[in-house]
Symmetry: D2
Subunit: 124 residues, 4 copies
Protein backbone atom coordinates (compact mmCIF):
# COMPACT_ATOMS: atom_id res chain seq x y z
CA UNK A 1 0.00 0.00 0.00
CA UNK A 2 1.40 3.35 -1.02
CA UNK A 3 1.42 6.05 1.59
CA UNK A 4 2.20 8.99 -0.67
CA UNK A 5 -0.28 11.11 1.24
CA UNK A 6 2.21 11.25 4.06
CA UNK A 7 5.10 12.54 1.95
CA UNK A 8 6.05 16.13 2.68
CA UNK A 9 5.69 17.82 -0.68
CA UNK A 10 6.85 21.25 0.40
CA UNK A 11 10.53 20.31 0.58
CA UNK A 12 12.84 19.19 -2.21
CA UNK A 13 14.51 16.49 -0.12
CA UNK A 14 11.78 13.81 -0.32
CA UNK A 15 11.56 14.42 -4.06
CA UNK A 16 15.33 14.09 -4.42
CA UNK A 17 15.15 10.74 -2.62
CA UNK A 18 12.23 9.59 -4.74
CA UNK A 19 14.06 10.43 -7.97
CA UNK A 20 17.27 8.76 -6.82
CA UNK A 21 15.26 5.63 -6.02
CA UNK A 22 13.50 5.84 -9.39
CA UNK A 23 16.83 5.82 -11.24
CA UNK A 24 18.39 3.16 -9.03
CA UNK A 25 15.45 0.78 -9.48
CA UNK A 26 15.90 1.04 -13.24
CA UNK A 27 19.68 0.77 -13.16
CA UNK A 28 19.81 4.16 -14.85
CA UNK A 29 22.59 5.71 -12.76
CA UNK A 30 25.02 4.42 -15.36
CA UNK A 31 23.48 6.93 -17.81
CA UNK A 32 23.07 9.76 -15.32
CA UNK A 33 26.42 11.50 -15.51
CA UNK A 34 26.15 15.27 -14.99
CA UNK A 35 27.08 15.65 -18.67
CA UNK A 36 24.21 13.46 -19.84
CA UNK A 37 21.75 14.92 -17.35
CA UNK A 38 22.59 18.44 -18.56
CA UNK A 39 21.65 17.31 -22.07
CA UNK A 40 18.38 15.85 -20.83
CA UNK A 41 17.64 19.03 -18.91
CA UNK A 42 18.15 21.31 -21.88
CA UNK A 43 15.93 19.01 -23.90
CA UNK A 44 13.12 19.61 -21.43
CA UNK A 45 13.85 23.34 -21.41
CA UNK A 46 13.49 23.31 -25.19
CA UNK A 47 10.13 21.58 -24.96
CA UNK A 48 9.04 24.43 -22.71
CA UNK A 49 10.33 26.97 -25.22
CA UNK A 50 8.48 25.16 -28.01
CA UNK A 51 5.15 25.77 -26.29
CA UNK A 52 5.79 29.50 -26.43
CA UNK A 53 7.64 29.95 -29.70
CA UNK A 54 4.77 31.10 -31.89
CA UNK A 55 2.84 32.83 -29.13
CA UNK A 56 2.98 36.51 -28.32
CA UNK A 57 4.20 37.40 -24.86
CA UNK A 58 0.64 38.15 -23.83
CA UNK A 59 -0.59 34.80 -25.11
CA UNK A 60 2.15 33.03 -23.20
CA UNK A 61 0.71 34.44 -19.98
CA UNK A 62 -2.86 33.29 -20.64
CA UNK A 63 -2.71 29.62 -21.55
CA UNK A 64 -5.67 27.34 -22.10
CA UNK A 65 -6.22 24.70 -19.42
CA UNK A 66 -4.83 22.02 -21.71
CA UNK A 67 -1.72 24.02 -22.58
CA UNK A 68 -1.27 25.00 -18.94
CA UNK A 69 -1.23 21.34 -17.99
CA UNK A 70 1.32 20.53 -20.71
CA UNK A 71 3.54 23.42 -19.65
CA UNK A 72 3.31 22.32 -16.00
CA UNK A 73 4.66 18.93 -17.04
CA UNK A 74 7.60 20.53 -18.83
CA UNK A 75 8.38 22.60 -15.73
CA UNK A 76 8.21 19.38 -13.72
CA UNK A 77 10.61 17.64 -16.09
CA UNK A 78 13.09 20.50 -15.78
CA UNK A 79 12.91 20.40 -11.98
CA UNK A 80 13.36 16.62 -12.02
CA UNK A 81 16.57 16.77 -14.03
CA UNK A 82 17.77 19.78 -12.07
CA UNK A 83 17.38 17.85 -8.82
CA UNK A 84 19.15 14.84 -10.33
CA UNK A 85 22.19 16.87 -11.43
CA UNK A 86 22.35 18.69 -8.10
CA UNK A 87 22.16 15.33 -6.34
CA UNK A 88 24.97 13.87 -8.45
CA UNK A 89 27.16 16.91 -7.74
CA UNK A 90 26.09 17.29 -4.12
CA UNK A 91 24.75 20.81 -4.58
CA UNK A 92 22.10 22.29 -2.27
CA UNK A 93 19.86 23.82 -4.93
CA UNK A 94 17.85 26.15 -2.74
CA UNK A 95 20.91 27.43 -0.89
CA UNK A 96 22.67 27.96 -4.22
CA UNK A 97 19.70 29.96 -5.49
CA UNK A 98 19.71 32.16 -2.37
CA UNK A 99 23.44 32.73 -2.77
CA UNK A 100 23.00 33.62 -6.43
CA UNK A 101 20.17 35.98 -5.58
CA UNK A 102 22.42 37.82 -3.12
CA UNK A 103 25.02 38.10 -5.88
CA UNK A 104 22.39 39.37 -8.32
CA UNK A 105 21.31 41.94 -5.75
CA UNK A 106 24.79 43.47 -5.80
CA UNK A 107 25.25 43.06 -9.54
CA UNK A 108 21.98 44.72 -10.42
CA UNK A 109 21.36 47.55 -7.96
CA UNK A 110 17.66 48.38 -8.21
CA UNK A 111 18.18 52.11 -8.66
CA UNK A 112 20.58 51.52 -11.54
CA UNK A 113 18.74 48.92 -13.59
CA UNK A 114 15.10 49.83 -12.99
CA UNK A 115 13.07 49.09 -16.11
CA UNK A 116 16.18 48.06 -18.01
CA UNK A 117 16.67 44.44 -18.98
CA UNK A 118 19.99 44.58 -20.75
CA UNK A 119 22.07 41.60 -19.86
CA UNK A 120 24.63 41.89 -17.11
CA UNK A 121 27.51 41.42 -19.50
CA UNK A 122 26.41 44.43 -21.47
CA UNK A 123 26.80 46.79 -18.52
CA UNK A 124 29.99 48.76 -18.39
CA UNK B 1 19.20 45.21 9.02
CA UNK B 2 18.91 42.01 7.06
CA UNK B 3 17.52 38.98 8.82
CA UNK B 4 18.32 36.40 6.18
CA UNK B 5 19.44 34.00 8.89
CA UNK B 6 15.80 33.55 9.82
CA UNK B 7 14.61 32.69 6.32
CA UNK B 8 13.55 29.08 5.88
CA UNK B 9 15.77 27.82 3.09
CA UNK B 10 14.32 24.34 2.89
CA UNK B 11 11.12 25.42 1.12
CA UNK B 12 10.69 27.01 -2.28
CA UNK B 13 8.05 29.47 -1.14
CA UNK B 14 10.31 32.03 0.58
CA UNK B 15 12.59 31.94 -2.45
CA UNK B 16 9.63 32.46 -4.79
CA UNK B 17 8.64 35.52 -2.77
CA UNK B 18 12.20 36.85 -2.74
CA UNK B 19 12.50 36.51 -6.52
CA UNK B 20 9.12 38.15 -7.11
CA UNK B 21 10.23 41.05 -4.94
CA UNK B 22 13.57 41.22 -6.77
CA UNK B 23 11.82 41.63 -10.11
CA UNK B 24 9.18 44.03 -8.81
CA UNK B 25 11.80 46.31 -7.24
CA UNK B 26 13.52 46.58 -10.62
CA UNK B 27 10.30 47.00 -12.61
CA UNK B 28 11.25 43.87 -14.53
CA UNK B 29 7.86 42.17 -14.55
CA UNK B 30 7.20 43.90 -17.85
CA UNK B 31 9.93 41.66 -19.36
CA UNK B 32 9.00 38.52 -17.46
CA UNK B 33 6.39 36.96 -19.70
CA UNK B 34 6.49 33.14 -19.63
CA UNK B 35 7.75 33.32 -23.22
CA UNK B 36 10.71 35.52 -22.31
CA UNK B 37 11.45 33.64 -19.10
CA UNK B 38 11.56 30.35 -21.02
CA UNK B 39 14.24 31.90 -23.25
CA UNK B 40 16.21 33.05 -20.22
CA UNK B 41 15.89 29.60 -18.65
CA UNK B 42 17.19 27.77 -21.70
CA UNK B 43 20.07 30.23 -21.82
CA UNK B 44 21.07 29.20 -18.32
CA UNK B 45 20.60 25.52 -19.20
CA UNK B 46 22.98 26.05 -22.11
CA UNK B 47 25.59 27.59 -19.83
CA UNK B 48 25.38 24.42 -17.76
CA UNK B 49 25.79 22.30 -20.90
CA UNK B 50 28.80 24.39 -21.92
CA UNK B 51 30.63 23.43 -18.75
CA UNK B 52 30.33 19.78 -19.73
CA UNK B 53 30.60 19.86 -23.51
CA UNK B 54 34.24 18.90 -23.86
CA UNK B 55 34.41 16.72 -20.75
CA UNK B 56 34.00 12.98 -20.66
CA UNK B 57 31.11 11.67 -18.59
CA UNK B 58 33.56 10.65 -15.88
CA UNK B 59 35.15 14.10 -15.82
CA UNK B 60 31.72 15.70 -15.53
CA UNK B 61 31.21 13.82 -12.26
CA UNK B 62 34.50 14.88 -10.68
CA UNK B 63 34.73 18.65 -11.01
CA UNK B 64 37.41 20.87 -9.55
CA UNK B 65 36.29 23.09 -6.67
CA UNK B 66 36.28 26.12 -8.97
CA UNK B 67 34.26 24.38 -11.66
CA UNK B 68 31.89 22.94 -9.05
CA UNK B 69 31.19 26.45 -7.81
CA UNK B 70 30.54 27.71 -11.33
CA UNK B 71 28.22 24.79 -12.06
CA UNK B 72 26.35 25.38 -8.80
CA UNK B 73 25.68 28.93 -9.93
CA UNK B 74 24.28 27.70 -13.25
CA UNK B 75 21.99 25.27 -11.41
CA UNK B 76 20.90 28.17 -9.23
CA UNK B 77 20.14 30.31 -12.28
CA UNK B 78 18.01 27.55 -13.76
CA UNK B 79 16.06 27.13 -10.53
CA UNK B 80 15.57 30.88 -10.30
CA UNK B 81 13.99 31.15 -13.75
CA UNK B 82 12.03 27.94 -13.20
CA UNK B 83 10.50 29.40 -10.05
CA UNK B 84 9.74 32.65 -11.86
CA UNK B 85 7.88 30.93 -14.71
CA UNK B 86 5.99 28.69 -12.30
CA UNK B 87 5.05 31.77 -10.31
CA UNK B 88 3.81 33.61 -13.40
CA UNK B 89 1.72 30.60 -14.43
CA UNK B 90 0.63 29.69 -10.92
CA UNK B 91 2.14 26.21 -11.02
CA UNK B 92 3.13 24.32 -7.85
CA UNK B 93 6.53 23.07 -9.02
CA UNK B 94 7.08 20.38 -6.43
CA UNK B 95 3.57 19.00 -6.77
CA UNK B 96 3.96 18.98 -10.55
CA UNK B 97 7.24 17.06 -10.22
CA UNK B 98 5.59 14.47 -7.96
CA UNK B 99 2.72 14.10 -10.42
CA UNK B 100 5.15 13.70 -13.31
CA UNK B 101 7.13 11.14 -11.36
CA UNK B 102 3.98 9.07 -10.83
CA UNK B 103 3.36 9.27 -14.56
CA UNK B 104 6.95 8.23 -15.30
CA UNK B 105 6.52 5.30 -12.92
CA UNK B 106 3.73 3.92 -15.10
CA UNK B 107 5.39 4.87 -18.38
CA UNK B 108 8.67 3.20 -17.52
CA UNK B 109 7.93 0.04 -15.51
CA UNK B 110 11.18 -0.89 -13.79
CA UNK B 111 11.14 -4.49 -14.94
CA UNK B 112 10.71 -3.43 -18.55
CA UNK B 113 13.28 -0.66 -18.88
CA UNK B 114 16.01 -1.78 -16.49
CA UNK B 115 19.39 -0.72 -17.85
CA UNK B 116 17.81 0.68 -20.98
CA UNK B 117 17.78 4.41 -21.56
CA UNK B 118 15.98 4.63 -24.85
CA UNK B 119 13.61 7.50 -24.84
CA UNK B 120 9.97 6.92 -24.07
CA UNK B 121 8.89 7.82 -27.57
CA UNK B 122 11.06 5.06 -28.96
CA UNK B 123 9.23 2.36 -27.05
CA UNK B 124 6.59 0.49 -28.91
CA UNK C 1 5.24 19.70 -63.29
CA UNK C 2 7.98 20.14 -60.72
CA UNK C 3 11.46 20.76 -62.05
CA UNK C 4 13.35 20.26 -58.80
CA UNK C 5 16.00 18.30 -60.67
CA UNK C 6 17.21 21.57 -62.12
CA UNK C 7 17.65 23.33 -58.78
CA UNK C 8 21.25 23.94 -57.81
CA UNK C 9 21.58 22.22 -54.45
CA UNK C 10 25.17 23.17 -53.79
CA UNK C 11 24.40 26.78 -52.90
CA UNK C 12 22.32 28.12 -50.03
CA UNK C 13 20.60 30.78 -52.13
CA UNK C 14 18.02 28.56 -53.90
CA UNK C 15 17.19 26.99 -50.55
CA UNK C 16 16.76 30.42 -48.95
CA UNK C 17 14.34 31.35 -51.71
CA UNK C 18 12.45 28.08 -51.37
CA UNK C 19 12.04 28.55 -47.61
CA UNK C 20 10.94 32.16 -48.00
CA UNK C 21 8.32 31.02 -50.49
CA UNK C 22 7.26 28.19 -48.18
CA UNK C 23 6.57 30.65 -45.36
CA UNK C 24 4.93 33.24 -47.59
CA UNK C 25 2.54 30.70 -49.11
CA UNK C 26 1.39 29.77 -45.62
CA UNK C 27 1.19 33.36 -44.37
CA UNK C 28 3.72 32.41 -41.69
CA UNK C 29 5.93 35.48 -41.92
CA UNK C 30 3.77 37.03 -39.24
CA UNK C 31 5.19 34.41 -36.84
CA UNK C 32 8.74 34.49 -38.15
CA UNK C 33 10.32 37.27 -36.14
CA UNK C 34 14.00 36.65 -35.39
CA UNK C 35 12.97 36.20 -31.76
CA UNK C 36 10.49 33.44 -32.56
CA UNK C 37 12.76 31.80 -35.12
CA UNK C 38 15.58 31.66 -32.57
CA UNK C 39 13.21 29.75 -30.27
CA UNK C 40 12.31 27.35 -33.06
CA UNK C 41 15.97 26.87 -33.90
CA UNK C 42 16.98 25.99 -30.36
CA UNK C 43 14.07 23.56 -30.23
CA UNK C 44 15.53 21.72 -33.21
CA UNK C 45 19.02 21.86 -31.67
CA UNK C 46 17.58 20.24 -28.56
CA UNK C 47 16.03 17.44 -30.61
CA UNK C 48 19.50 16.79 -31.97
CA UNK C 49 20.93 16.76 -28.44
CA UNK C 50 18.21 14.34 -27.36
CA UNK C 51 19.39 11.77 -29.87
CA UNK C 52 22.79 11.77 -28.23
CA UNK C 53 22.00 12.31 -24.56
CA UNK C 54 22.25 8.71 -23.35
CA UNK C 55 24.87 7.62 -25.87
CA UNK C 56 28.60 7.50 -25.24
CA UNK C 57 30.71 9.71 -27.48
CA UNK C 58 31.77 6.64 -29.44
CA UNK C 59 28.17 5.53 -29.93
CA UNK C 60 27.26 9.01 -31.17
CA UNK C 61 29.76 8.57 -34.00
CA UNK C 62 28.43 5.20 -35.15
CA UNK C 63 24.69 5.54 -35.58
CA UNK C 64 22.34 2.93 -36.98
CA UNK C 65 20.89 3.72 -40.40
CA UNK C 66 17.56 4.60 -38.84
CA UNK C 67 19.10 6.89 -36.24
CA UNK C 68 21.37 8.44 -38.87
CA UNK C 69 18.33 9.34 -40.92
CA UNK C 70 16.59 10.87 -37.92
CA UNK C 71 19.69 12.88 -37.01
CA UNK C 72 20.01 14.09 -40.61
CA UNK C 73 16.49 15.46 -40.38
CA UNK C 74 17.32 17.35 -37.20
CA UNK C 75 20.40 18.84 -38.86
CA UNK C 76 18.17 19.85 -41.77
CA UNK C 77 15.68 21.51 -39.42
CA UNK C 78 18.46 23.50 -37.79
CA UNK C 79 19.78 24.66 -41.16
CA UNK C 80 16.28 25.60 -42.26
CA UNK C 81 15.69 27.88 -39.28
CA UNK C 82 19.22 29.22 -39.49
CA UNK C 83 18.63 30.26 -43.09
CA UNK C 84 15.29 31.81 -42.16
CA UNK C 85 16.78 33.97 -39.40
CA UNK C 86 19.71 35.01 -41.58
CA UNK C 87 17.24 35.92 -44.31
CA UNK C 88 15.12 38.01 -41.95
CA UNK C 89 18.22 39.85 -40.70
CA UNK C 90 19.92 40.05 -44.09
CA UNK C 91 23.00 38.13 -43.00
CA UNK C 92 25.21 36.26 -45.45
CA UNK C 93 25.62 33.04 -43.48
CA UNK C 94 28.60 31.60 -45.30
CA UNK C 95 30.49 34.89 -45.33
CA UNK C 96 29.76 35.30 -41.61
CA UNK C 97 31.12 31.81 -40.95
CA UNK C 98 34.32 32.58 -42.87
CA UNK C 99 34.72 35.83 -40.95
CA UNK C 100 34.18 34.02 -37.66
CA UNK C 101 36.68 31.36 -38.62
CA UNK C 102 39.31 34.03 -39.27
CA UNK C 103 38.56 35.44 -35.83
CA UNK C 104 38.82 31.98 -34.26
CA UNK C 105 42.16 31.51 -36.01
CA UNK C 106 43.57 34.50 -34.14
CA UNK C 107 41.78 33.71 -30.88
CA UNK C 108 43.01 30.12 -30.77
CA UNK C 109 46.54 29.97 -32.17
CA UNK C 110 47.19 26.35 -33.04
CA UNK C 111 50.48 26.14 -31.18
CA UNK C 112 48.89 27.47 -28.01
CA UNK C 113 45.70 25.42 -27.82
CA UNK C 114 46.73 22.11 -29.36
CA UNK C 115 44.88 19.27 -27.67
CA UNK C 116 43.24 21.66 -25.25
CA UNK C 117 39.52 22.27 -25.46
CA UNK C 118 39.02 24.74 -22.68
CA UNK C 119 36.60 27.40 -23.72
CA UNK C 120 37.89 30.69 -25.03
CA UNK C 121 36.61 32.61 -22.04
CA UNK C 122 38.69 30.47 -19.75
CA UNK C 123 41.96 31.49 -21.37
CA UNK C 124 43.90 34.21 -19.66
CA UNK D 1 50.67 34.42 -48.49
CA UNK D 2 46.96 33.80 -47.99
CA UNK D 3 44.84 33.47 -51.08
CA UNK D 4 41.44 33.63 -49.37
CA UNK D 5 40.20 35.90 -52.14
CA UNK D 6 40.14 32.90 -54.41
CA UNK D 7 38.03 30.73 -52.11
CA UNK D 8 34.51 30.11 -53.34
CA UNK D 9 32.32 31.40 -50.55
CA UNK D 10 29.00 30.51 -52.10
CA UNK D 11 29.31 26.78 -51.41
CA UNK D 12 29.51 24.98 -48.09
CA UNK D 13 32.21 22.56 -49.21
CA UNK D 14 35.25 24.89 -48.97
CA UNK D 15 34.03 25.97 -45.54
CA UNK D 16 33.64 22.34 -44.43
CA UNK D 17 37.21 21.69 -45.50
CA UNK D 18 38.49 24.81 -43.75
CA UNK D 19 36.77 23.84 -40.49
CA UNK D 20 38.06 20.27 -40.68
CA UNK D 21 41.56 21.62 -41.13
CA UNK D 22 41.06 24.07 -38.26
CA UNK D 23 40.18 21.24 -35.89
CA UNK D 24 42.88 18.89 -37.16
CA UNK D 25 45.59 21.53 -36.77
CA UNK D 26 44.59 21.92 -33.11
CA UNK D 27 44.22 18.20 -32.45
CA UNK D 28 40.61 18.87 -31.53
CA UNK D 29 39.01 15.96 -33.34
CA UNK D 30 39.38 13.98 -30.14
CA UNK D 31 36.76 16.31 -28.60
CA UNK D 32 34.54 16.55 -31.67
CA UNK D 33 32.23 13.58 -31.25
CA UNK D 34 28.74 14.24 -32.58
CA UNK D 35 27.56 14.15 -28.96
CA UNK D 36 29.97 16.89 -27.88
CA UNK D 37 29.41 18.95 -31.02
CA UNK D 38 25.65 18.85 -30.46
CA UNK D 39 26.27 20.35 -27.00
CA UNK D 40 28.48 23.06 -28.49
CA UNK D 41 25.86 23.80 -31.13
CA UNK D 42 23.02 24.23 -28.65
CA UNK D 43 25.29 26.50 -26.63
CA UNK D 44 25.63 28.78 -29.63
CA UNK D 45 21.89 28.58 -30.30
CA UNK D 46 21.32 29.71 -26.73
CA UNK D 47 23.62 32.69 -27.20
CA UNK D 48 21.44 33.66 -30.13
CA UNK D 49 18.31 33.28 -28.03
CA UNK D 50 19.88 35.42 -25.30
CA UNK D 51 20.17 38.34 -27.68
CA UNK D 52 16.42 38.26 -28.21
CA UNK D 53 15.08 37.20 -24.83
CA UNK D 54 14.08 40.60 -23.48
CA UNK D 55 13.23 42.13 -26.86
CA UNK D 56 9.79 42.33 -28.38
CA UNK D 57 9.34 40.54 -31.68
CA UNK D 58 9.41 43.88 -33.46
CA UNK D 59 12.65 44.89 -31.74
CA UNK D 60 14.22 41.58 -32.71
CA UNK D 61 13.69 42.49 -36.37
CA UNK D 62 15.29 45.93 -36.13
CA UNK D 63 18.66 45.49 -34.46
CA UNK D 64 21.28 48.16 -33.97
CA UNK D 65 24.42 47.78 -36.10
CA UNK D 66 26.37 46.56 -33.08
CA UNK D 67 23.72 44.01 -32.11
CA UNK D 68 23.36 42.93 -35.72
CA UNK D 69 27.07 42.19 -35.86
CA UNK D 70 26.92 40.20 -32.63
CA UNK D 71 23.92 38.22 -33.86
CA UNK D 72 25.68 37.52 -37.17
CA UNK D 73 28.54 35.98 -35.23
CA UNK D 74 26.16 33.72 -33.32
CA UNK D 75 24.58 32.59 -36.59
CA UNK D 76 28.09 31.90 -37.88
CA UNK D 77 28.92 29.84 -34.80
CA UNK D 78 25.79 27.75 -35.26
CA UNK D 79 26.59 27.12 -38.91
CA UNK D 80 30.16 26.19 -38.01
CA UNK D 81 29.11 23.51 -35.54
CA UNK D 82 26.33 22.34 -37.83
CA UNK D 83 28.85 21.79 -40.62
CA UNK D 84 31.19 19.99 -38.23
CA UNK D 85 28.51 17.54 -37.06
CA UNK D 86 27.32 16.93 -40.60
CA UNK D 87 30.92 16.30 -41.61
CA UNK D 88 31.47 13.82 -38.79
CA UNK D 89 28.28 11.96 -39.71
CA UNK D 90 28.73 12.30 -43.46
CA UNK D 91 25.47 14.16 -44.00
CA UNK D 92 24.91 16.45 -47.00
CA UNK D 93 23.34 19.37 -45.17
CA UNK D 94 21.81 21.17 -48.12
CA UNK D 95 20.38 18.00 -49.62
CA UNK D 96 18.96 17.05 -46.20
CA UNK D 97 17.31 20.47 -45.95
CA UNK D 98 15.75 20.11 -49.40
CA UNK D 99 14.47 16.65 -48.47
CA UNK D 100 13.04 17.97 -45.22
CA UNK D 101 11.39 20.84 -47.04
CA UNK D 102 9.66 18.39 -49.38
CA UNK D 103 8.45 16.50 -46.33
CA UNK D 104 7.23 19.74 -44.72
CA UNK D 105 5.39 20.57 -47.93
CA UNK D 106 3.30 17.42 -47.57
CA UNK D 107 2.95 17.71 -43.79
CA UNK D 108 1.75 21.28 -43.90
CA UNK D 109 -0.43 21.76 -46.97
CA UNK D 110 -0.63 25.49 -47.56
CA UNK D 111 -4.40 25.59 -47.81
CA UNK D 112 -4.78 23.78 -44.51
CA UNK D 113 -2.32 25.66 -42.31
CA UNK D 114 -2.44 29.16 -43.75
CA UNK D 115 -1.94 31.68 -40.95
CA UNK D 116 -1.83 28.94 -38.35
CA UNK D 117 1.44 28.19 -36.58
CA UNK D 118 0.40 25.34 -34.33
CA UNK D 119 3.07 22.75 -34.21
CA UNK D 120 2.82 19.70 -36.45
CA UNK D 121 2.32 17.36 -33.52
CA UNK D 122 -0.75 19.30 -32.46
CA UNK D 123 -2.56 18.62 -35.71
CA UNK D 124 -4.99 15.77 -35.69
Amino acid sequence: MKMTAQIDKTHLEPLRQRLAEFAATRDWDQFHSPKNLSMALIGEAAELVEHFQWLTQAQSATLSAEKHQAVSQELADILIYLIRIADKLDVDLIQAAWDKTELNESRYPADKVRGDARRAKEYS
